[in-house]
Symmetry: C2
Subunit: 179 residues, 2 copies
DNA sequence: ACTATATCGCTGCCCAAGCAATGATTGCTT
DNA sequence: AAGCAATCATTGCTTGGGCAGCGATATAGT
């Protein structure tokens, strides 16, 4: 209830959103450089990491976990499959889904690149103590959870005066259960 | 020095990068919805906020603060100027730069929208205590600072085996002082 | 004073990512 | 069983943002 932010005091440099956006725009291009010699996009890297993490998975699942558009993901998978890094196998039980698996080549690619990424992050978080990192992760996890909840329930949002113009949340509501 | 991450234990769901990307992809579209009835993009909103924050500024400055490409910013400014939200005035002392100012209309637009944004963030951070928010902000600020330092000095990066292929960091080095 | 280099704003171009629509499939409801 | 809604993967379309290049200007080096 107690408002954490006041409009009058609201400043960009102190806003969480600003900081997150800024860190994304700063860090992401740098990471992109890490995979340049493997000609891997950051998004492609993320997909490979997701498969390494959760083993076999489906495209829709990966898209949800990465918060990535499913349409774009299809093209990424095309590329990765063409290079022999993953395999696509139509599921037998549910013939809609395609099971994604990391090939041995794909796995070794990830394993080769991973130390580089780890080292990059160690450098980035060099000034952070171990508990601080854990704290940051914990806070961000909670933030993501809160943002996720707000997204899953697109209707009945009374937080802000609902925008109901041309191209607003109507699109997003399509994903929901609303007709 | 002490490594915060180990490659063997490295998991996506615990990685700061993953969380930041995820929160961006979750939060940003939601914020976009906040400005839909004003037909404002999130980037446009950010520019207006930046001008409100720092008063008069130049395009290059704003681009740097927002971590946004200067080229794209030009088009955003075109749009905002066309709508009478900002003014572009060529500087007298340095005729390269263009001074950006928020018009009264632009200022009122920001002020009208701001409570909505504040409310949105209050909802998002509802589970956070005040100190927690301050902590998150402090940690993110440090992260941004670290990422910024690493970017400003593109040369002499021994963190990872320097990729020197076709389209790698050469682009990024262009920003530096290197010829 | 003159050249070289950097900066500024701007434009054209390209690519990645999101949106909408589609066909196939599955599950739910009645 | 039968219709209806939801899900899945995929494709075309559109857009937003990054990159390279440009002319104009400013500054540093000599």
């Amino acid at each position: 209830m107690s408002p954490l932010y006041r409009a009058t005091h609201y400043g960009m440099k102190n806003s969480v959103g600003y900081l997150i956006r800024r860190s994304t725009n700063l860090i992401l291009p740098q990471m992109e450089g890490l995979f340049a010699d493997e000609s891997l996009t950051f998004s492609q890297w993320t997909v490979l990491m997701a498969l390494r993490e959760w083993g076999q998975s489906t495209a829709a699942d990966v898209a949800r976990h990465i918060c990535h558009d499913a349409g774009s993901l299809t093209r990424i998978l095309d590329e990765l499959e063409g290079r022999g890094l993953i395999t696509r196998v139509r599921s037998e039980t549910d013939r809609r889904v395609v099971a994604l698996t990391l090939t041995t080549k794909g796995l070794s690619t990830v394993e080769n690149l991973l130390p580089r990424v780890v080292e990059f992050w160690n450098g980035l978080l060099g000034d952070f103590s171990h508990p601080e990192v854990k704290l940051l992760i914990k806070l961000l996890t909670r933030l993501v959870a809160a943002a996720g909840e707000q997204r899953i329930l697109p209707r009945r949002r009374r937080a802000f005066s609902a925008p109901q113009h041309e191209n607003d949340l109507g699109r997003r509501q399509r994903r929901g259960q609303q007709p």
